[in-house]
Assembly symmetry: none
Amino acid sequence: MQAVLSYLAKNQARFLEDLCAYVRFPSVSAQPQHSGDLHACAEWLVRHCKSIGLEARLCPTGGHPVVIAKTPPAPAAAGKRPHFLVYGHYDVQPPEPFDLWTSPPFEPRVEGRSLFGRGTTDNKGQNLAHLIAVEAYLKTNTPLPCDITFVIEGEEEVGSKSLGEFLLANKAELACDAVVISDTGMPSKKHPALTYALRGIAAFEVILHGPARDLHSGMFGGTVDNPAMALCQLLGQLRDKKGRVAIPGFYDDVKPLATYERKQFARLPYKESEYKKLMGVRELFGEQGYTAIEQRSARPTLEINGLTSGYQGEGSKTIVPSWARAKITTRLVPGQNPAKIIKLVCQHLKKICPPSVRIEVKSGHGAEPYLVSPTSPHAQAALRALKSAFGCEPVIIREGGSIPIVNSFKKVLKADALMLGLALPDDNAHSPNEKFDLDCFEKGQLMSAQLWQELVK
Amino acid sequence: MQAVLSYLAKNQARFLEDLCAYVRFPSVSAQPQHSGDLHACAEWLVRHCKSIGLEARLCPTGGHPVVIAKTPPAPAAAGKRPHFLVYGHYDVQPPEPFDLWTSPPFEPRVEGRSLFGRGTTDNKGQNLAHLIAVEAYLKTNTPLPCDITFVIEGEEEVGSKSLGEFLLANKAELACDAVVISDTGMPSKKHPALTYALRGIAAFEVILHGPARDLHSGMFGGTVDNPAMALCQLLGQLRDKKGRVAIPGFYDDVKPLATYERKQFARLPYKESEYKKLMGVRELFGEQGYTAIEQRSARPTLEINGLTSGYQGEGSKTIVPSWARAKITTRLVPGQNPAKIIKLVCQHLKKICPPSVRIEVKSGHGAEPYLVSPTSPHAQAALRALKSAFGCEPVIIREGGSIPIVNSFKKVLKADALMLGLALPDDNAHSPNEKFDLDCFEKGQLMSAQLWQELVK
């Protein structure tokens, strides 16, 4: 192991260059104009994986390609070894709004111990840390105690549709003991974390259609419903004053938090003043009866992600807009089912929509919530690797985000996910000025290098 | 008068050519790239006015020029005569979206009795009808019974700022007995109309500020208010189920409709099925207790003109948006004051806004509602001219739109406006495929020719 560790220590400058090269691809999966960039990014990954000694290939799919990279076959003498997958994604969130970025999102910039750029923390930096750990083994000819297959996809930010199909088609090749994923967070550099639960998601769009075209509000206003007002009145009914989602049946299947979980959460680092500062708000607002940590990780929500209607330019335009649209996502917790929730929400919206507008509801992607035991042998091994790399006691946490594909790993490969996130709370994932902490990058590489040893103990 | 009438009858083909020449100028005041076209159009007008015998000049302003054209001084023997202004505007609305036009907006095209083109009805055709009537007097040496000054501006579609200043600076020259304006509508060719009231307007923007940046809805959602949801809940409270604006005091100053007005309106041509078709809606929605004609012309409204928040592109983006904005205008009716209404709305919004978001309200432009007696001697004269030109009984109407400059005429010149609109409901003012009806053009000329005789009776 000494060779591995010193290889890691010696090559940090080059690892950073590799990460910058990776971040420069504007691999925005939600925006069709970037499909060429996604392909180029996947090809770069394949070349990079080959250069560090992996057997890599680009796998075309119905959407963006999947990159598969495997450690070379073990010498026959080694016999059958455990096989682990490392999952990551090379696609990123849209960078908009551009004007809020201090430096261009796809021109990585180092400031202190932070690397700024879209995708630095979510997920290119975290993903690359694992590749680097394996590179250190391969380049120093240190024998790995297991087989490792990297599965790096290009559709995580838009629902992982192609990877789901890919898993089904490549079940045998991908059969494994567990899936290692660094695509979650840690409360602080002193609290490296194993994530044992994720929220699920259900996405949809609501469009209210009014007049056939934008109407002159002077000539027609007063005789026809305004779709923007109708939308406000419709959506305003979806949340009550206690911060609860006001859709009948929404909470029916929610598995209540166990007492030991609430106790664990109460021990996590949290300062309301710092948390408010992190988000830039004067007041918190959430479901009554739960702490902020519980609200953000273990309770379901309904969020309006975007509103669009009528005139949005300078000054004013006196119209009754022809239509109004909202993009909405619900975050779901263990017990809830996205398909059921989408049905529930659609039915409710249609029921309460007034006849003066025509409602159209488009359901988008869904992902089931995820829950795994934090006390399994694999989980214990992961906690030891975290402790050794970060030099302090790790914590177990639930995370509020979703990684839809973990459910497919469970269903198709029967493999649990070991989620060892390297993102800090202020990394601005999905926001302007996304960054990745270079200490987390380095310690993540160490953690990954240790992990393979711990997992086979 | 026979000479005037036969001059009009003989020269329709040439009048149409003049109108086409006028329409060919893309005099779009809202778009800076057209300022040269506005200037060229004003210069064309000056030349045209001179060619028909008026004393015309181009008056530079801080914005687009004003054209002033006066009938030649009366012979000294005539003594002091009444003086009327004819107001019009040579600027037009933006033609966008171009793809919805059947033929190019600035290449006038005749089809049946319609002339298609941007500005044909609003306001070049209506405006030119008055110039033609005076031309007929001057070219046939028929003595006019009054002095007439044409005031034709280039900023009506963007708020008439320069004309307001021009009126103040040229008060003495423009002192008059009344201002004749053809820039409104008539219910049908069988219902020539005198408009005796206009709605006013008050514009503002509401912005709710939440977190300092867009937040990952998985990592933070549940602990912080969503400004888009807060905006929906806020704005949703501004209109009740009966279609009334739910702001305390909003209706306090509304002058109720007189019984004779409601009787008049009930006689106006109106078919619900046709009106719905015109707007492209399945159902009407408006303030209970009023007919559609009353709702659209004589009752105040509050309309959301635009909504903006968060992600608006393809697919979904799982964020809690940092802010949400609505553009709002209220249409006001006689009795209401825009400044007072803006204050009322702002205060109410601030009062009901929850502390979990920060509210910012920006007040925009305002215009007072307008009301003039439909039974004054001038109004009676106008009704007689309408009846004689159109050959049927005229109606008196209120119009739902605003012509802010009428308030300036009243304040600065102490002159009432006689609004004799020639636009039909399907003329598509402000919309693609704007047209002007050539019967209205011809009868408008007749009406204008008669009007000067009737006004001095």
